[in-house]
């Protein structure tokens, strides 16, 4: 029983990581109707930036915020320079650009920071808490990801800029007619998605260690989470991310074993796509005609 509870709690902790990456995927999907395959690699690159800043002697949280900000700028730049020219291109072109971006970011990461596996520090105390059920890092990283998700939610719900970004994603033509600069909203969305990725990277790196392919598996789980919750629902993606974290952990511990855990992501993806393609919270839009 104790083992079971422990598996659930650490599932929630990794689920928070998946939830963040899933949210980043959904944000870009809502605006462009494409899945950014490079989201994971971008997050890995962001984590290396944080490591460089830490090695420069900066305090952990300064490096954390620095990586967040730099990732935001990189995300905006990618949208402006790479995605803008193919904004109206056919689907396959966009997919090609995303795959290319994945390979480029992955190789650039290896080229800059080499391929050896590196340790990444955790800012949280290394001891068991709550009667041995949860490690300091698990509790801390869940708190950080939850805080980020709540801030993002508040930003989209309660600020003018957040509202404009949602409007631009739903209805670009009408948004222009009320004066929203739609192109910039899309770029801001990319920036925010990249910044959220940096948080996910920094929180997961102490657990899985840092190497250029760190995020490839995580991206799969996150994608499964986004689909499970509903690829066009930010809230659904977050819940889906947490659910996948728990399912993965329990399945790994009791059903398929740790070697086959990644398969669970694919099982979830296939199951959702066949049984309920809109996901658990996929948005139903009512319109009277």
């Amino acid at each position: 029983m104790e083992g079971f509870i422990h598996q659930i709690i650490s599932g929630i902790a990794t689920g928070g990581i998946y939830a963040s990456v899933a949210l980043a995927l959904v944000m870009i999907y809502q605006a462009t109707h494409h899945v950014n395959f490079a989201q994971g690699e971008m997050a890995t690159f962001s984590t290396y930036i944080a490591l460089v800043l830490i090695n420069m002697g900066l305090p952990y949280w300064v490096a954390f915020v620095g990586s967040f900000a730099i990732s935001f700028v990189i995300g905006v730049a990618i949208e402006r320079l790479l995605m803008r020219p193919v904004a109206n291109a056919p689907v396959l072109t966009s997919v090609g650009v995303f795959v290319g971006l994945l390979l480029i970011v992955n190789s650039v990461t290896g080229w800059f920071f080499d391929y050896t596996i590196k340790q990444f520090p955790s800012p949280f105390p290394d001891k068991s808490l709550l009667g041995g059920f949860v490690s300091g890092h698990e509790l801390g990283s869940t708190g950080v990801t939850l805080a980020v998700l709540i801030l993002v939610y508040l930003f989209f719900r309660h600020t003018r800029l957040g509202l404009a970004m949602r409007a631009a994603a739903f209805n670009p033509a009408s948004s222009r007619l009320v004066g929203v600069r739609v192109g910039w909203m899309l770029a801001l969305g990319w920036g925010l998605a990249a910044a959220i990725g940096s948080v996910a990277g920094c929180m997961v790196a102490p657990v899985v260690f840092l190497d250029p392919n760190m995020m490839s598996g995580i991206l799969l789980y996150a994608f499964a989470g986004a689909l499970l919750g509903g690829i066009d629902s930010p809230l659904g993606a977050v819940l889906g991310g947490f659910l996948v974290g728990v399912i993965e952990n329990l399945g790994g511990a009791y059903v398929v074993g740790t070697e086959l855990k990644l398969t669970l992501a694919l099982v979830i993806i296939i199951t959702v796509l066949t049984l309920k393609p809109s996901g658990l919270m996929g948005r139903k839009v009512y319109s009277r005609v």
Binding site: L163, A167, F170, N171, R176, G179, V180, R283, V285
Partner: protein, 236 residues
Amino acid sequence: MTALLEAKALHAAYGETKVLHGLDFAVEQGSVTALLGANGAGKTSTLRAICGMVRTQGEILLGGKRIDGMATEDIVRLGVAHVPDGRGTFMELTVEENMRLGAYTRPARAATADFDKMFGYFPRLKERYRQQAGTLSGGEQQMLAIARALLLRPRLLLLDEPSFGLAPLIVREIFGIMRRIRDEEGVSILLVEQNASIALEFAHDAYLLETGRIVVSGLASDIAKDESVRRSYLGY
């Protein structure tokens, strides 16, 4: 009277297909101008041309300043509000969020004061304030679209077929409210309508479009009286 909006030799095309062939027209300051014509005459395209939503040639002047070739967002920020065909409602968002977006270019506090004024014109919007806009009836959506446009505090309001798809009773209600808006807000209006009788009653000046050209222009009251124009172009 001075012209707020002037178009000179305005051409427009979608790709290779030319839809406007050299229009000259003006919207006077503080008055209503109607743009009439059959389906496909180029009425909607004219509004889209003013807003920079199609490729144009020729000159468009707003308050004497050229706006042709500018981005839609920048034209809107100069005070041109456009209620497009299909109303441009943000279906997924609430009535409140739609209204906030209407006032997006203005300081939030000034806009909130205007909300009450909109509820004065359209009490129905207050009842539906927190509802998803997609659940509104057609008439309510048209009201929301007009309120959203007015919240920009526009100098020029472009209305594309406010009567489209609505029951005659609702159309009368909406035009009744628009009469109040015309008299109280001092906004210049360029109205596109297929329903010529109601538009000519509402407007001061009118232009009649046929396949991308202006064929008749003058005072709305004169056009309404001209039997031959009415029979051959307006069909009533």
